[in-house]
Symmetry: C2
Subunit: 335 residues, 2 copies
DNA sequence: GACTTTGAATTAATCGTTTAAGTAATTTTA
DNA sequence: TAAAATTACTTAAACGATTAATTCAAAGTC
C-alpha cells in the first residue's frame, strides 16, 4: 500500500533517491539513506513485487510442476517430502513457489504459463516426461531442474536408483536369499534404472532370475501388487523374497500374503522402495530403501537458484543422491 | 516476450486498441478485433501478469498458508489432500497458488508477504491460529478463508468434528461397546470439538467415562499413542475400544497392542480419525472417520473466489463438511 | 583562479498493461 | 441539411518500481 512515493514525500526527496537508498546504491549520502530507511520501516513499506518484476525482469518466484496421474503430486508421499524440502530451501533465499498448471485462463501451456507469471526458474518432478508440453518447457530458455529424469544439457537431481537397487539386493542376498522376485513399476526412466540394476546385480551375485519372477504393476497400486503377488506365490518354485515397486504397493502384497495364512517374514520376505514414514510405524517395519528426500529437495533448490543467479558458472550436471537400506523386519535371515 | 506493442505494430493500430480488442471492449470494430486476435495467437502472445496486476490491482494469485509444526503441511496426509482439491478448484477458475511464508527477504510477516505479492486472497490451514502474525493476517482486509478454525466475521470451512465424533461413537456403541477410551490430540479447537462431542454423546448414550479413560497424546505421534495405550491396557478395568487422535497415531496403539500378544479386533478394538489412504490398504482395515477432504478443499476454493470476486454478496459463514464413518475391521461386534 | 573531479541528488525514460478522455469520420435524427 | 449521436480509433496518464543521463554544488588540482 505504502509506496516509494509516500516515502519520498515524507523525506522531501525524489522517488529515485528512495529507490537507490533502499537498494543501497553508492551515490546516496549516508544520512539520507538512514533517514529513508527509517521512514520506510516506520510506514511499513515493502516493495511491490509486480512493479519491481516488471522493470527488473525477475520475480523471485519459482514455478513448480508436480503432476501426478490423477493427483497433483501433493499427495504423493515421496514427492511431497521432496517438495517440502525444496520449498524450505528456496524460501530461505527469498524465493516463493507457485504451482505451474495448464488448466487456467485460455488454456496456457506450461511454457506459456511460465512466461505469463515470469518465473525465474522451474522445478519439474513427478510428471510424464514425454508430454510434449513438458518437453517444450525443458527445452526452453527458462532455468530448469528436473527430478528423477535426465535431459541432455539440463540439471537433474536423481535418486540413486541403480545404487539403491544394488544395495537392497545385496542386503537381501546377505541374509541368505537366492530366489528373489521383482514386481517393478510401470515403464519410466526410474523403473528402467531399477530393473537393469536388478538384473545386473543379480547376475553379479550369481542369482538366477527366471522370467516368471519379473512382473509389472503400477506404482502405488496395492491391488495390482496383490494380483502379481498371487501369481508369484502360485509358481511351482516360488521366490523366498519379493521386491515391490514401492512401499505403498508392498502393502498390497503383504495383504495377499497374510490372506493366504502366510507370515511375514517367517514364510516369505517382502521389500518395498521409498521409505515412507508410516512404514516405520507399522509392524512389521518395512524393509525398504529410504530415498533421501531431504537431500533431493535441498539440492534441487540450491542448484536451481545457482542456475538462476549465476547461469554462466553453474555446472550443468546430474546430481545423484544416494539412498539407504532401511533393514526393517520384513526380510527373514535364512538359516 | 511478445507484447502488445508487437501486435500493435503488426496490425498498424495503437497499443490501446490491442488491449481493448483482447479484452473484448465494445468500442473496437469486429474485423479489427478478429485481426488482432489472430495475430496474437500467431505470435504466441500472452499477457504479462505483472504488468496487468500493477494496473488492475489483482493478481489472480492466491496465497496458501499451510504450516505444520516442523513440516509445511505438505507432508500431512489430511491437509495435503485438502490442498490438492483446493488447488484444482482455483486453477480451473484461472487462479494460481503461491505459498505464503515469513522466512524470506527482510523477514516479512505473513501480511507483509501478502502485500508484497499482491495476493487476491488467502487460505489458511494447519497453523497455530494464535500466532500473532496469523491473527494479524486474518484481521486484515485481505479476503481470507480458514480451514478447521473459526474467526469472527470470517469464512471458515470446518470438518464436522462434533458430528464425526458422534457418528463414530454411535457406530461403536451399536456394535455393543460400552467401555470406550479416548486418547485425544493436543489442545486445539479441533480437539475441543471432538472431546466435547465425545463427552456429550457418551452421556447421551448412557456411557460411563471414567477420567482414566481420557488421555492426551500429540497428533500423528505413534510413540505417544503407544504409551497412552499401555496405560489404558494396564487399567484394572480396561476399555474394550480405544479412540485415537488420528489414523497415524492409531498405528502406534496397534503396535503396542500387538506387542502384548493381543489381537485386533478380537481382544481389543481401535478407532482412528481422518481416513488416510493407507488405512484402507493395510489389514486389518482401520475403522475411522473419513474426513471429506475433497469437499473441504473444493468449498474453500469456491468460497474464497466468491469472496474475492463478489465481496458484497458473498455470505460470510461457517461451512460444516460432514465426514463419514468408515467401518473397517478394527472394531469387534460384541456378542 | 580557472579547470577538473567527486558527491549527492534529480529528471526522465522505461517495463507492459489499462482506461479515461479526446478526436475524426460516419450515420442518424428532426 | 445542420446538429446530435454513434462508431472506431488514438493519445496520454497511470500503476510502482529501476536506472541511464543529467545537474549542480563543493572540493581538489595545478
Amino acid at each position: 500500500m505504502a509506496s516509494m512515493k509516500d516515502i519520498a514525500a515524507r523525506c522531501g526527496v525524489s522517488v529515485a533517491t528512495v529507490s537507490k537508498a533502499l537498494n543501497d546504491h553508492s551515490d546516496i549520502g549516508e544520512e539520507t539513506k538512514a533517514r529513508i530507511r527509517e521512514v520506510a520501516k516506520e510506514i511499513g513499506y515493502f516493495p511491490n513485487s509486480m512493479a519491481r518484476a516488471l522493470k527488473t525482469n525477475h520475480t523471485n518466484n519459482i514455478g513448480v510442476l508436480f503432476v501426478d496421474e490423477a493427483q497433483s503430486g501433493l499427495t504423493h508421499d515421496y514427492f511431497s517430502h521432496v517438495l517440502d524440502y525444496f520449498k524450505r530451501t528456496v524460501e530461505e533465499k527469498g524465493y516463493d513457489i507457485t504451482f505451474l498448471n495448464n488448466k487456467g485462463q485460455g488454456h496456457m501451456s506450461y511454457l506459456e504459463h511460465c512466461r505469463y507469471r515470469g518465473f525465474d526458474g522451474v522445478v519439474i518432478a513427478c510428471v510424464d516426461f514425454f508430454d510434449p508440453q513438458v518437453v517444450e518447457l525443458v527445452q526452453s530458455d527458462i532455468p530448469v531442474v528436473t527430478i528423477d529424469h535426465m535431459f541432455n544439457n539440463r540439471i537433474s537431481i536423481m535418486s540413486d536408483n541403480v545404487g539403491g537397487m544394488r544395495d537392497l539386493l545385496e542386503h537381501v542376498y546377505s541374509l541368505g536369499h537366492r530366489r528373489i522376485a521383482y514386481i517393478h513399476g510401470a515403464d519410466s526412466s526410474v523403473t528402467r534404472e531399477r530393473l537393469s540394476s536388478f538384473y545386473y546385480n543379480a547376475e553379479r551375485l550369481g542369482l538366477e532370475v527366471p522370467d516368471e519372477y519379473i512382473k509389472e504393476a503400477a506404482y502405488r497400486n496395492s491391488k495390482e501388487a496383490a494380483e502379481k503377488t498371487k501369481e508369484l506365490l502360485d509358481l511351482k518354485n516360488p521366490p523366498t523374497c519379493i521386491f515391490y515397486p514401492d512401499d505403498f504397493a508392498c502393502y498390497g502384497g503383504i495383504n495377499e500374503i497374510n490372506d493366504r495364512g502366510l507370515r511375514i517374514p517367517e514364510d516369505i520376505s517382502v521389500v518395498g522402495y521409498d521409505g515412507i514414514r508410516i512404514g516405520r510405524h507399522i509392524r512389521p517395519q518395512l524393509t525398504t530403501l529410504r530415498q533421501d528426500t531431504g537431500m533431493i529437495g535441498t539440492q534441487a533448490g540450491e542448484k536451481l537458484i545457482s542456475l538462476i543467479e549465476r547461469p554462466k558458472t553453474t555446472l550443468v550436471e546430474q546430481v545423484i543422491i544416494r539412498g539407504e537400506v532401511y533393514p526393517g523386519e520384513t526380510v527373514k535371515r535364512l538359516k
